[in-house]
Symmetry: C2
Subunit: 283 residues, 2 copies
């Protein structure tokens, strides 16, 4: 693992790293914020929030734009941000679309040619990056929460639901709530998973929750959604998540905010509440 850069930030450190990934078969970048509590030299391990970013983003988007370090420092949380897809795989057409391929990994393992060799973001995160973070940094791999925005909100919800016990808390900002039913999700699932709709349901937050016999996160899921978000009706559909949670008895705090759009100005406004939500479960 290579440390590309490190920046002092709110008494802690914002780091950018690169490592050769076994699961992806290519070098991958990630960022990690370490709060002052992790750097005190006491050997103490801090809880970790994993942030999954949206379409076109990288491991740098959240640290540069969300203003979350202030609160991570106060709350004693580390924040790990993976990239949003493999890069440099050389798959023909991989960068032709902004909503598929490069920058659009959807946090799943592709099963279809030509994507299944490198597009393994789920295994990468669960089997490689999280264990690596637990070894390389003073973070407690037993206290991990998942947070994401847009495509990354889909990733946070689905990974938390698909891997019971791995994540203690989950929340999302403007997530794609029912990918099987919207253009972004249909395009991604068709391309990465093929036409088997049962496979799609296993990566669809609303379908996964609706199928739960008991609420998977009794402490509640926090979701924020702007009402001036131009993707709200066509791509995000939080009402589908709301219906699924009601059916499963899963507590959901879905906050709808008049005037807010899909940008990082929205993310920055509400991210402190998300970190507090996670800190409460990870303490």
């Amino acid at each position: 693992m290579e440390l590309l850069s490190a920046h002092a930030s709110f008494g802690g450190e914002q780091r950018f790293c690169r490592h050769p990934s076994r699961e992806i078969g290519l070098p991958m970048r990630f960022s990690i914020y370490l709060p002052p509590a992790a750097l005190g030299g006491t050997g103490a391990k801090v809880p970790l929030v994993v942030y999954l970013a949206g379409l076109t983003c990288t491991e740098e988007t959240f640290p540069a734009k969300a203003g979350a370090q202030r609160f991570a420092a106060e709350l004693g949380l580390a924040i790990l941000c993976p990239d949003t897809s493999p890069r440099g795989a050389g798959v023909p057409g991989e960068a032709d679309d902004w909503d598929f391929g490069v920058g659009a990994g959807f946090f799943l393992d592709a099963t279809r040619e030509p994507w299944q060799r490198h597009w393994r973001m789920e295994s990468y995160l669960l089997e490689e990056l999280l264990p690596l973070a637990g070894e390389a940094f003073p973070v407690d791999a037993g206290r991990v929460g998942l947070l994401g925005h847009s495509m990354g909100g889909h990733g946070a919800l689905t990974l938390a639901l698909r891997h019971p016990g791995r994540f203690r808390s989950v929340s999302a900002l403007a997530p794609i709530c029912a990918p099987s039913e919207v253009p972004w999700g249909v395009k991604a699932f068709s391309g990465y998973l093929g036409e088997d709709r049962a496979a799609w349901s296993r990566h669809d937050a609303s379908a996964l929750i609706a199928a739960c016999a008991a609420p998977p996160f009794p402490g509640g899921i926090l979701v924020d959604q702007g009402l001036a978000d131009r993707f709200l009706a066509g791509q995000l559909r939080p009402e589908r998540l709301e219906e699924a949670c009601a059916k499963a008895g899963q507590p959901l705090r879905l906050r709808r905010h008049a005037g807010y759009d899909h940008s990082y100005y929205f993310v920055a406004t509400f991210v402190a509440d998300h970190l507090r939500h996670h800190a409460g479960s990870l303490a």
Copy 2:
């Protein structure tokens, strides 16, 4: 004036605008954050902090990366960010260097060919953008503070000193404190002003303060500087400002921070203190 985009942010609004500039002779972009207090429909005018950005930056850098809106909202401050130079002038070689020409206007009026037609950032700010902001937005043109980073810190200090009475408060993050003596400043002053060293002194914060008979900002100047900033010794030289302030009896709170670099991770860490500094003088 054209509104390019607007984003809800901490109960206020982050706007991006373009207007044809008389002083520059080209279209110019700027951004403005309006806090909730300015949008209440009460007709109340809020104080304004003008933020001047550094080399290569635009009107978007500060709103996207500094996380200042949270505190501007709490303190009831608007924040106006101009661009850092004319763009699209077509001067030969204008974009060849990252530290001269495009993105590097140094917040002065050039007097030398071929720059003096468009590179008029001082007159643009003082005679055009600030009056425009006072007319177009609910901001109080009589309560304005100046804040800047790096080249913009030079701009904030020099403009505040060159225009007594126009700005009630001034502060800077990692400013170029003695441009006449460092490579960035020598290159900019030679190109924009020619070889007349007396003209340089009139745009050099340390020289301007050293020449003051009485302290121009009795309420104090706040400057933050990271000690891991790779430009500290070669380009910034806060000790020169310190010496000049001591000579003039100008109160200076110069804070040196171990470990901090020149990036927006440094800016974001300390910007809240700067907004509080201005709010105290602009109330």
